[in-house]
């Protein structure tokens, strides 16, 4: 019998146009591909073009070229005396906040992976800070933790402290706020990963002699780790762009002057090149941190979380 390959005609019957069409169809390019066109146009108009425009703008600083970047790293922005320091300020806020969120989310999500009584109510409560937005949370925290807030008034009434503890208007306030708004997000992501782990793995480990602690560290944690790195990366992106809480709960004139604030001030003072350069630096800093996270992720097990056939 003749093999099927040999039946393929050397010249396509419908001409080269039909051949290209055939190739396209065989590789999944059907007329339905046109449906992505609006999406591509939208992406181009509202993302790719502005990004390129912004990058272009960043090279039109005081003396053109990379002068805006030089000014950034030498703290020579006209309205931001410590722009380079802001990079560290931002990282010093975003990294601890992210790590705290994920470290809290992993065990709590693990505990709740089988569902607990009132899970929906609990999830709703946890969701509130996320839905209200960071401005609302910042206001609430000011009322709670501020010098004249409930906490300090209660502590003073109980004669536990003489003077109000300084929890707002500084690093602590912003960190608390970041953790509070970032936790629900991290928790919900981790809950999804945790409940995706085959429950029979836990039973199998238990019967083989693993205590609850050993089950967590030898079975569940390694399987949660890939999810935790994704959560870490996404939470970091959220925390890195912090702006409202740094302004409302911190002190954006000094200790919590974050990069988005620097970009904003420069922009507000019509130093568009400086603002753009700051934005580009923010993006690069984020990408570096994400690259480190994903490099680490490449070294761990990231396959199925099922113990066999379902």
């Amino acid at each position: 019998m003749k093999s099927r390959e040999l039946d393929i005609p050397t010249s396509p019957p419908g001409g080269w146009h039909a051949l290209v069409g055939g190739w396209a169809r065989a590789h999944g390019f059907t007329s339905a591909v046109w449906l992505v066109l609006p999406g591509i146009l939208f992406m181009f108009a509202f993302f790719i073009y502005p990004v390129l425009y912004g990058v272009g703008l960043s090279f039109q600083g005081r003396d053109g070229g990379v002068s805006a970047y030089v000014d950034f790293f030498t703290n020579k922005f006209p309205h931001d005396s410590g722009s380079f320091d802001s990079l560290w300020t931002t990282l010093q806020l975003a990294i601890p906040a992210t790590v705290i969120c994920v470290l809290m989310a992993v065990p709590i999500a693990w505990r709740m992976r089988r569902g607990v009584r009132g899970l929906r109510t609990l999830t709703a409560i946890v969701m509130i800070p996320m839905t209200l937005g960071s401005v609302f949370v910042a206001e609430a925290l000011n009322n709670l933790l501020g010098p004249a807030g409930w906490l300090n008034r209660a502590l003073q009434a109980l004669h536990l402290v003489r003077a109000p503890i300084q929890l707002t208007g500084n690093y602590t306030g912003v960190l608390i706020s970041l953790v509070l708004t970032g936790f629900p997000f991290a928790f919900l992501l981790m809950l999804g990963y945790a409940s995706g782990i085959d429950p029979s793995l836990d039973s199998a480990a238990a019967i083989l002699g693993a205590s609850p602690r050993q089950r967590f560290f030898k079975v569940d944690f390694p399987l949660l780790l890939p999810g935790a790195t994704i959560t870490l990366a996404l939470s970091f992106v959220l925390a890195f762009a912090v702006f409202p809480s740094a302004t409302l709960l911190g002190n954006d004139a000094g200790p919590t002057r974050v990069l988005s604030k620097v970009a904003y001030t420069e922009y507000a003072n019509a130093n568009y090149a400086n603002a753009s350069a700051t934005a580009v630096i923010m993006a690069v800093a984020q990408l570096i941190v994400l690259a480190i996270v994903f490099l680490g992720r490449g070294r761990i097990y990231r396959g199925s979380t099922m113990g066999g056939k379902g």
Binding site: S200, L201, A206, A210, G303, S304, G307, G310
Partner: protein, 378 residues
């Protein structure tokens, strides 16, 4: 009598019950398992067999009752302290560990030294014929291989008791029969006390020293496989172990049962009428010979053939009596639908179960068991 290799002499389930809300999954189960014994819990899904296994494993707590291993009270001991092995229906292999680390998991928790651990893992893997797959991940193995890894993992620690929860039900038919033999061989070789849960009566009978047939959380019958097979305690067990023909009838003065088209006689020892006015006649299709003329010396039931299927060597024939009762049997030669035929059954193959009244419930129960038994392949 317990196997001298066993590490205990008796596992005793003492009036064990488990409820989930209002649902009674297991009702007052008492059972004694001797060391070295292979016991199969048999029943359709929802009969309480898996609940029983999980209670023994410690994955569930009993609502009532106690579990004793000789003089140790077990139901208050957490699963990790019971020193058991378990094989799961879905294998439950740790996907992030390779085959050797999966099998060695229990050994490393028991702080067995590296060299000894390696040797024991290799021995266990050789035993399940996977000696050359040690460095693969579970995801790279076929279903049958995965289940063999899971068996190796359960036996490598030489546990006091091995629990198997429908270990073969995810495998295809041929592999299932091969693995059945392997499980039996492993048991003979190692003498590990085993509790095996299944809904497959053929699997249970071929593997177990003793069968426990369950339904709706209650034990229906307990005994040697031959005993259960030859002498089912009730209609339900009969239907579940393959007595597919279930026919209602009226008990006559001479102990025979009138099913309308014929009076069916049974050997006295197979008759559980207990003076009841009504009875259900239960017969295995394998014991029903369908032919043009009756076989001498047996019961004969006239039929009209409905279906005749060639099954290799014999034909499975399904016919209907004048009273509309369906009879299943086998024939040496084919029939056409509508043909008249006679179903012949020896008196020794008939089981009679007394009923107070023509009992729709009994028939429904038998049908349910039939369904459960035939659905076991799905």
């Amino acid at each position: 009598m317990s196997d001298r290799r066993a590490r205990f002499s008796e596992l005793r389930l003492d009036h064990l019950s488990r409820r989930f809300g209002d649902f009674v999954a297991l009702d007052d189960l008492s059972l004694s398992i001797a060391g070295g014994e292979f016991v199969a819990l048999l029943g359709p899904s929802g009969c309480g067999k898996s609940t029983t296994l999980n209670l023994v494993a410690g994955l569930l707590d009993p609502s009532d009752g106690m579990i004793w291993l000789d003089d140790q009270r077990l139901d208050i001991v957490p699963p990790e302290k019971r020193d058991f092995g378990m094989v799961f229906q879905n294998y439950a292999l740790f996907p992030h560990l390779n085959v050797a680390d999966n099998v060695g998991f229990g050994l490393s928790l028991r702080r067995v030294g590296k060299a000894e651990r390696k040797e024991r893992v290799q021995r266990a893997l050789d035993m399940v014929r996977l000696g050359d797959q040690a460095s693969k991940r579970p995801g790279q193995l076929s279903g049958g291989q995965q289940q063999r890894v899971s068996i190796a993992r359960a036996i490598v620690t030489e546990p006091r008791l091995v629990l198997m929860d429908e270990p073969l039900s995810n495998l295809d038919a041929k592999l299932r029969i091969d693995m059945r033999t392997e499980v039996r061989l492993l048991h003979q070789e190692l003498g590990l006390t085993t509790v095996y849960v299944t809904h497959d009566q053929a699997e249970a009978m071929s593997l177990a020293d003793r069968l426990v047939v369950m339904r709706d959380g209650v034990v229906q019958q307990e005994g040697l496989p031959q005993e259960v097979y030859e002498n089912p305690a009730n209609i339900y067990v009969a239907a579940f172990v393959g007595y597919r023909n279930a026919i209602d009838g009226v008990v006559l003065a001479d102990g025979r049962v009138d099913i309308g088209d014929a009076a069916i006689a049974a050997d006295h020892r197979n008759s559980r009428l207990a003076g009841a006015p009504q009875a259900v006649v239960m017969i295995r299709p394998e014991d029903v010979v369908i032919d043009e003329s009756p076989r001498p010396g047996g019961n004969s039931i006239p039929l009209v053939v409905r279906v005749s299927e060639y099954q290799g060597r014999t034909f499975a024939v399904e016919g209907t009596t004048a009273h509309g009762v369906t009879v299943y049997g086998y024939s040496e030669h084919p029939f056409r639908p509508g043909d008249h035929a006679i179903a012949s059954v020896a008196a020794s193959s008939v089981r009679l179960y007394g009923e107070e009244a023509p009992n729709g419930a009994a028939r429904a129960m038998a049908a349910e068991a039939n369904l459960a038994a035939s659905g076991r392949l799905t």
